[in-house]
Subunit: 163 residues, 2 copies
Amino acid sequence: MTSLHFAEMEKKERKIMVAVDESQESMHALSWCITNLISETNKLVLLYVRPPSAFYSLDAAGYNFSSDVVDAMEKYSMHLANSVMERAEAVCRDLNATNINMERVVGVGHAKNVICSAVKKLEADTLVMGTHGYGFFKRALLGSVSDHCAKHAKCPVVIVKQP
Amino acid sequence: MTSLHFAEMEKKERKIMVAVDESQESMHALSWCITNLISETNKLVLLYVRPPSAFYSLDAAGYNFSSDVVDAMEKYSMHLANSVMERAEAVCRDLNATNINMERVVGVGHAKNVICSAVKKLEADTLVMGTHGYGFFKRALLGSVSDHCAKHAKCPVVIVKQP
């Protein structure tokens, strides 16, 4: 605790939000965060965004999905959320970060909007996210969630690329 | 040193590069970095980018600038670099970060290219930069240095917005 003193003095409890999804990139961003940003005065918020539900989607024949199909998709989506959260917690365990102050949050909607709203609502101090190495066309088509959040989230944003 | 143990174990000497310029935003990014990222195992690299020199520029009448004018511009640009570095060091002092392991680097060229090259050449582990809150037209015209670096720098990039 010599030269670190200045930083320690300034540190209050900070909320670090990590956006996690099925990708390897987001797990890499999480481990970067644990290794570089998280300390005992911080709280880690794991945010997973489920896609908007399919109530208004149409099947191939132009009919609404039956409620059975919608239910099955909901169930699958919740299962996916749990599986991502469990994978994220495994990453924490692998880095011996077991006694971390952690919260799981699951949002529903379009990732870029939900992430920016969650930053505001939960008053996150820093947002950490991975970035998919999409090529030119896919990026042009889909836009980039990390680009959007870097511009619009109301806190510093860390973009972690897969090495 | 309780729950921090996991992170400390993982930490080697890391190089944190902060791109500084005349803007308040970049000084805010520097103080975020000192408060959140810098520890005694890290090295802080302050990078300032001077614009490319004016040898090929033309004055209003279409002539090359005289060597006197070029010299004066060079001198002014070096003076500006020094003044930004001094301001950055004042920010460190204000946060009591006086015994930080620090290096000053001045590059010449277009900011977005120089910053990405410097990350690669100096093997920075993290790049921290502010972002100018340009409006739509200025951003479309100038492009955004931080956008470019977030995409192309070969390390995690922290984009710190002025609150």
